[in-house]
C-alpha cells in the first residue's frame, strides 16, 4: 500500500518537473526544422550544369515504382530541339503524390540520377487533381551558366542514347 502511494507521488513529481521545463515544441509554420541528410521528400528532376535535363525518358522509374505513381512519356531529341543529352527525353513526366509512398525506388532505378527525392515535405492539396505534379513543377531551375531547354546544339556532339554521367555527350 505504502509502496503504491510512494510510486503515485513519484509519478506526480515527474509530471511537475516536466511542467517547469521549457517546452520542446517548434512553432512550425514560422520556424522550420532542417531535414536530415537522407530525408526522402518531394522529388526533383535534376539538370546538368549546361542546363540539359538529366532525364532521358526511359521510364525505368515508372517500372520500379511499387505504387505505380509515375507516368513518363518520351519523345525524340533532335539537335535543333534538344532537352536531354540522350536519344530521347521525357515530354510528359507526372508523379501522383497521393500514390507515392516515398520509398525512393525511382531514385535507385534511374540510370542518369535524374530523379532525386529532395527535402520538400509540404505536400497538401485541396483536390486530387492538384496532387499530380507535372514536369514543370518537378524540374529544377536552370543553373547559372546553363541554357534553357530546348537547346540548339551542334550536330554530332550528343550521340549516345544513355549519356556518360560526368561529361555528357
Amino acid at each position: 500500500m505504502l509502496g503504491y502511494i510512494s510510486e503515485l507521488i513519484k509519478g506526480m513529481a515527474i509530471t511537475m518537473r516536466h511542467m517547469i521545463t521549457p517546452p520542446v515544441t517548434i512553432q512550425y509554420p514560422e520556424i522550420k526544422r532542417p531535414v536530415r541528410y537522407r530525408f526522402k521528400g518531394r522529388h526533383e528532376l535534376k539538370r546538368y550544369d549546361n542546363g540539359l535535363e538529366k532525364c532521358i525518358g526511359c521510364a525505368l522509374c515508372a517500372a520500379a515504382c511499387p505504387a505505380d505513381a509515375i507516368f513518363v512519356e518520351a519523345s525524340e531529341n533532335t539537335d535543333d530541339v534538344r532537352f536531354s543529352p540522350g536519344e530521347r527525353y521525357a515530354s510528359t513526366y507526372e508523379i501522383n503524390m497521393l500514390r507515392c509512398i516515398f520509398c525512393g525506388y525511382c531514385e535507385d532505378a534511374c540510370p542518369t540520377e535524374a530523379i532525386v527525392l529532395e527535402d520538400k515535405y509540404e505536400l497538401a492539396f485541396y483536390d486530387r487533381a492538384s496532387a499530380i505534379y507535372t514536369k514543370d513543377m518537378l524540374i529544377v531551375d536552370v543553373p547559372i551558366n546553363g541554357q534553357q531547354t530546348p537547346q540548339v546544339v551542334e550536330p554530332g556532339v550528343f550521340t549516345k542514347s544513355i549519356p556518360i554521367m560526368e561529361d555528357p555527350k
Binding site: G11, M12, T15, H18, M19, Q27
Partner: protein, 375 residues
C-alpha cells in the same frame, strides 16, 4: 412573503451573475486543462487563438497570452458543426438527455457559499441575502449538502438516457458502466460527506465554513476524509485514473459516442461544471471555503479565495490525469467496494465515537486534533 417579487428579482440577478462566471469558468477550465496537460508533456498547448503580438527587434514577435480566445474558437466551431441526428435514435429522449445531464450540474451551484455578505450587498437585498449573511444563490437552505447529493444523482439519468436513446450498443455499454461507477462511488462519497457534517453539526454549507474558522480546516482534522472525498469525486466525475469509460485512446468516449456539435458540448459542459462544483465542495468542506486572511475586512476577498481554492482543486485533478495510469474495470469496482467503502464506514464510526467522547470531555486538556474536535 410580502417581498417575494423583490427576492425573486434579486435571486435572478445574483444567480445570473454567478452562473455566468461559472460558465465562463467552465470554458476556461477546458483551456486550463489543455494548457497544463500540454506543459506536463513538455508541449506548449493551444497558443494560436487570440495572442497579443509584441514586436521584438531582430526576432519573431513575442506572443503574449497565446490561446486566451481558444474557448471562444471552440464554441464557434461547435456551433458551426452539422447538427446531425443519427437514424433510429429515440429522437425525443436523445434530444433531452444532454439537457438532463447539464441541468443538475449547473443547478447545484445554487447552494455554494461564495463569500461573507458585504454591507452594500446586504443593503441591496434586505430580505434575500441579508438575513443569512453570506453570498449564495439560495442562501439559508439548511439541507444544502443533501440538495447537492440529490441533484447530482439526477445526472445519472441523463447518462443512461443518452446511452439508451442513441440505439447503439457502444453507447449503451458505456452508459451502463458509467452508471455503475457513479452509483458505487456515490456511496462512499456520501459517507465521506457526513464527516464535515458531523463535526460542524449542520448540513448548511455556510455553517460548515464557519465551523472551520473555529476548528481549523477539516482536511487537517480529517485528512482521510479529505482524500477519500477527492478520490470519490474523481470517480464520480469519471476523471483519470477512473476514466476508463471514456478512455479516449481505446474506446470512443462511451455513452456520448452518437452525439455531435452542441449536444456533445453540453455533455462536456456538464463534466466540467461538475468538476468545478466538486472542487468548490472540496474547498467548502475541507479547505475552509471562503476563509482566508483579511476576509472579515473585505468580504468579497472571500470569493477570490474560493476561486483560488477551486482552481487549485482543478489543477490537482489535471495533474493527476497527467500522471497516473488508468484503472481496469474490475480494479475500479474492487477499489470502490472493497477499499473506499469500508474505510469511509470506519471513518464515520470512529469520528462519531471521537466526537461523542470529546463532548463528554474525555480529551480535555489533551493536545492535538482530538482536543480540537470538542470545539
Amino acid at each position: 412573503m410580502e417581498n417575494a417579487g423583490a427576492v425573486a428579482l434579486a435571486a435572478l440577478a445574483v444567480g445570473g451573475i454567478i452562473a455566468f462566471v461559472v460558465i465562463t469558468g467552465f470554458a476556461y477550465s477546458t483551456l486550463l486543462e489543455r494548457k497544463v496537460l500540454a506543459r506536463m508533456q513538455v508541449r506548449v498547448g493551444p497558443n494560436r487563438a487570440g495572442y497579443i503580438p509584441i514586436p521584438r527587434r531582430g526576432k519573431d514577435d513575442l506572443r503574449l497570452l497565446g490561446g486566451v480566445m481558444q474557448p471562444l474558437a471552440d464554441a464557434v466551431k461547435l456551433f458551426m458543426k452539422e447538427d446531425f441526428t443519427p437514424p433510429y435514435v429515440d429522437t425525443w429522449v436523445y434530444n433531452i438527455a444532454p439537457i438532463i445531464t447539464v441541468f443538475p450540474a449547473v443547478f447545484s451551484l445554487a447552494v455554494i457559499p461564495w463569500a461573507p455578505l458585504p454591507q452594500w450587498l446586504a443593503d441591496m437585498t434586505p430580505h434575500y441575502l441579508a438575513p443569512h449573511g453570506y453570498l449564495a444563490i439560495a442562501p439559508g437552505l439548511n439541507v444544502a449538502l443533501l440538495f447537492i447529493l440529490a441533484i447530482t444523482s439526477i445526472e445519472v439519468y441523463g447518462v443512461v438516457l443518452a446511452g439508451w436513446s442513441s440505439n447503439s450498443k457502444y453507447a449503451v455499454l458505456g452508459a451502463i458502466r458509467s452508471t455503475a461507477q457513479m452509483i458505487s462511488y456515490e456511496l462512499s462519497l456520501g459517507l465521506t460527506l457526513l464527516i464535515p457534517v458531523m463535526i460542524a453539526g449542520s448540513l448548511n454549507l455556510n455553517d460548515i465554513v464557519v465551523s472551520q474558522q473555529q476548528n481549523g480546516w477539516f482536511i487537517m482534522l480529517q485528512p482521510i476524509a479529505g482524500i477519500l472525498f477527492f478520490v470519490g469525486a474523481l470517480a464520480e466525475l469519471q476523471r483519470a485514473p477512473f476514466d476508463l469509460l471514456e478512455a479516449e485512446q481505446e474506446l470512443s468516449s462511451g455513452y456520448n459516442v452518437e452525439y455531435a456539435g452542441m449536444r456533445f458540448a453540453m455533455f462536456m459542459m456538464a463534466e466540467y461544471v461538475k468538476m468545478i462544483i466538486f472542487s468548490a465542495m472540496w474547498a467548502v468542506l475541507f479547505l475552509g471555503g471562503y476563509a482566508g486572511p483579511l476576509v472579515s475586512q473585505f468580504p468579497m476577498l472571500g470569493a477570490v479565495y474560493m476561486i483560488l481554492k477551486i482552481v487549485a482543486g482543478l489543477f490537482l485533478m489535471i495533474w493527476i490525469r497527467a500522471s497516473w495510469p488508468r484503472l481496469r474495470y474490475d480494479q475500479l469496482m474492487d477499489f470502490g467496494w472493497k477499499f473506499m467503502l469500508p474505510i469511509s464506514v470506519l471513518n464515520v464510526i470512529v469520528t462519531g465515537v471521537m466526537i461523542v467522547l470529546a463532548e463528554e470531555g474525555v480529551f480535555d486538556g489533551m493536545l492535538g486534533w482530538f482536543g480540537l474536535l470538542g470545539g
